[in-house]
């Protein structure tokens, strides 16, 4: 079975995000970019499937700017076998919308014929949480979202989903689109010998036009703003004063 893992290059989640002065988006110039953490979990899971003998090839695909190469090399260093880079823009600030991404992935699936797609549940930059679901609709495959456990059993898979208030276990038919959640696994470090090997692994470069997909945006970003700064706290001198203040604001 072949596993397809889409990976997105996003602003590193430990980097302090700054909004561009004109409010048109987040400033990404000279900012540390990394693989979307949920996608990293998806790559790890794909490699584990291969190590367990349940998959025989892991293909990572990334859509965006040329620099996404770095993100794909990380996936290859972790253990993916080959990579597909779809260069869809030259501008790091241009975000390819979920529907366009899903259509590109659909075209890649048509070519690659994977048995499963393992994707992050969402990208931490725009938090859309939509691509996996759209891809399931376009392919007509089953979908399992927010997955924290995955057990492939021949032509179906038993998956545990993290839902509000608990866990839900469902059975989906293969092939399937799985979007993974935080607790599925702990991704491995990339060892230097594997990083060097990754540089020699094949990486195909395509464009959306090659795949026959129109990526013209359908959404308009009206504005981007910093979260409201938290109001300053106050220091109380005694427990009595604390209780009094809490009563004042109706907290007790």
């Amino acid at each position: 079975m072949k596993v397809l893992v889409p990976v997105k290059r996003v602003i590193d989640y430990n980097v302090k995000v700054r909004v561009k002065a004109d409010g048109s988006g987040v400033d990404l110039a000279n900012v540390k970019m990394s693989m979307n953490p949920f996608d990293e979990i998806a790559v790890e899971q794909a490699i584990r499937l291969k190590e367990a003998g349940q998959a025989d090839e892991v293909v990572a695909v990334s859509i965006g700017v040329k620099q996404n190469q770095e993100t794909l090399r990380t996936a290859l260093a972790m253990g993916a076998d080959r990579a597909i880079l779809v260069v869809a823009t030259e501008d790091v600030h241009a975000d390819i919308e979920p529907l366009a991404v899903a259509k590109i992935l659909k075209a890649v699936i048509d070519e690659e014929q994977p048995g499963i797609v393992l994707a992050g549940k969402q990208a931490i930059d725009n938090d859309m949480n939509a691509t996996g679901q759209m891809l399931a609709a376009l392919t007509g495959w089953s979908q399992a979202t927010f997955v924290s456990e995955l057990d492939i059993q021949g032509d179906s898979a038993l998956v545990t989903r993290e839902v509000d208030g608990g866990l839900q276990t469902i059975k989906v038919s293969m092939p399937t689109i799985v979007t993974v959640d935080l607790r599925l696994n702990e991704p491995r470090y990339a060892s230097l010998p594997n990083i060097m090997k990754a540089k020699k692994k094949p990486m195909d470069e395509k464009t959306p036009a090659d795949l026959g997909v129109d990526i013209a945006p359908r959404l308009t970003i009206v504005s981007t703003g910093e979260p409201e700064a938290r109001a300053a706290g106050i220091k109380v001198g005694s427990v009595d004063e604390l209780v009094e203040k809490l009563k004042e604001v109706g907290a007790v």
């Binding site: 590193d12 989640y13 430990n14 980097v15 302090k16 000279n30 540390k32 990394s34 693989m35 953490p37 990293e40 620099q67 996404n68 190469q69 770095e70 794909l72 090399r73 990380t74 260093a77 702990e186 470090y189 990339a190 060892s191 230097l192 010998p193 990083i195 060097m196 540089k199 001198g237």
Partner: protein, 473 residues
């Protein structure tokens, strides 16, 4: 008591803390020393510090300044003394981005300085595990070191100016921002590392650096410690002196860390005797640019150099952090040192420095010596290897304390033989006073006492610390 009333009148009742409320100030982080202060005073500004000093000076009462209380030598022990906590004087008064200086009050928590300067894309490169509690006044008073001394120097090197309140309440204004100022003796350096024995640091001018745009952080496994310096030098050469930290953890450290810290994991597939955490950084945007394989330039330099060393059997393995989360988890391993070493009664805990090339020799000699003294004992160490600073701890086979002196003497002997220091970055406080008496050059000690007497003739500033009693010699 009359003194306390006088202080209350100067700084306000609620900022003079006594009895139960002063609990937090009756011990330090190591829990080795315990004491009962007369009171803990919490002044809001320099004038209030002066008022406290004047009152204590008039009545001959000892004063012990305290910051985050994270010291490791018992330097804040304050039995029957007035403690002067700088915690309320925590303002970051000004950051001058172009001049790259920050003007801060001494109670500013180190981490809050880090955060404040980060907004200007600057760093204050004094980094160590206790940064979330330690205050800059204490960092200055102990001339704290940490993990970035290799590149940026210790606290002394990061300080341009100071404001100090003397024992009699006078303020000495040394708040210079100047890089060049040869107007007589540079008095600020006397207070840096004086551990509060000469005066109370109330404000400082700090030197800032441009925040690196790119960091590359790796763990490297080596077969033997002798391979470490060639690795450091090679990385320095190839990155134009870009190595920010070069930390050594032996196999035993890795094992103990995994045992104690939940969720901790092996850094490599195999086990290695010598584990190096190395971080290189650059402020050049070009170092972020990807090469043809997509790897940012700085990372490619490190990868190529390390891979070459692995191919030539000069290194065994390496892992490179692929994102900030992995970088932080590599650092978390190193910074858990304090948590995984304290808490063993009777342990001999040291903070020594030896010349860079002498670290392997120090460890070999120590192993030989401790085996003669207490063969069942247990050695544990780690090192800021890039600056020759070792934290060598010996856990004796029993808790009687009978091994403490012979082991301490053995360590000091080896350190002296290698022309090292018995206190590299933690200072003297109470715990290293015997070592001072035994090992410090006697003329140097005499001069230190002369300076102490000149600045603090009544011996009220943090008495009983740093300088050994003359008769103890």
């Amino acid at each position: 008591m009359e003194l306390l009333d006088q202080i209350r009148a100067s700084i306000g009742d609620k900022y003079v803390v006594t009895r139960q409320d002063a609990q937090a100030w009756t011990r330090d982080w190591t829990d080795v020393y315990h004491w009962q202060p007369l009171a803990v005073t919490r002044p809001a500004n320099t004038e209030e510090v002066q008022a406290i000093a004047r009152a204590c000076f008039a009545q001959n009462i000892a004063m012990v300044p305290v910051g985050g209380n994270t010291g490791l030598t018992g330097a804040t022990k304050a039995q029957d003394a007035i403690m002067i906590s700088l915690d309320r004087m925590n303002a970051i008064r000004e950051i001058k981005p172009n001049a790259q200086v920050a003007i801060v009050e001494s109670g500013a928590v180190l981490d809050s300085i880090h955060q404040a300067v980060d907004d200007h894309d600057l760093v204050f490169p004094l980094i160590f595990g206790a940064r979330g509690s330690a205050m800059i006044g204490g960092n200055l008073s102990t001339n704290a070191g940490g993990s970035n001394v290799l590149r940026y120097g210790n606290t002394r090197d990061l300080c341009l100016g100071l404001e100090v309140v003397l024992a009699d309440g006078q303020v000495m204004n040394l708040m210079s921002e100047l890089r060049k100022d040869n107007t007589g003796l540079n008095l600020k350096h006397m207070f840096i590392g004086a551990e509060g024995t000469l005066g109370i640091i109330t404000a400082a001018v700090l030197r800032l650096y441009r925040k690196p745009l790119a960091y590359v952080t790796a763990m490297v496994g080596l077969r033997q410690l002798e391979d470490a310096l060639p690795l450091l030098n090679r990385l320095q050469n190839e990155t134009g002196g870009g190595v920010e930290a070069f930390e050594f953890m032996p196999r035993r450290y890795i094992e103990r860390h995994i045992e104690i810290i939940s969720g901790a994991d092996e850094p490599f597939e195999g086990a290695h005797e010598v584990n190096i955490l190395v971080e290189v950084a650059s402020t050049r945007a070009s170092d972020l640019q990807p090469d043809e394989s997509g790897t940012p330039k700085l990372q490619a330099i490190l990868e190529t150099a390390l891979m070459d060393m692995i191919s030539n059997d000069k290194a065994q393995d390496a892992v490179i952090a692929q994102n900030e989360a992995q970088r932080r988890s590599m650092w978390a391993r190193r910074e858990a040192a304090a948590e995984i070493t304290v808490g063993f009664p009777g342990a001999v805990d040291t903070d020594v420095a030896v010349p860079l090339e002498a670290v392997p020799s120090f460890l070999k000699q120590m192993t030989a010596r401790v085996q003669k003294i207490d063969p069942e004992g247990y050695e544990f160490y780690l090192s800021h290897l890039g600056d020759g600073n070792l934290h060598y701890t010996f856990y004796p086979s029993d808790r009687s304390g009978r091994f403490k002196e012979p082991i301490t003497e053995a360590i000091e002997d080896v350190v002296l033989e290698l022309q090292g220091s018995f206190s590299a970055e933690h200072g003297i406080g109470l715990s290293k006073r015997n070592s001072m008496a035994r090992r410090k050059d006697p003329v140097a000690l005499e001069m230190m006492r002369a300076i102490k007497t000149a600045l603090d003739p009544k011996n009220l500033m943090n008495p009983g610390k740093v300088y050994p009693e003359p008769e103890a010699r």
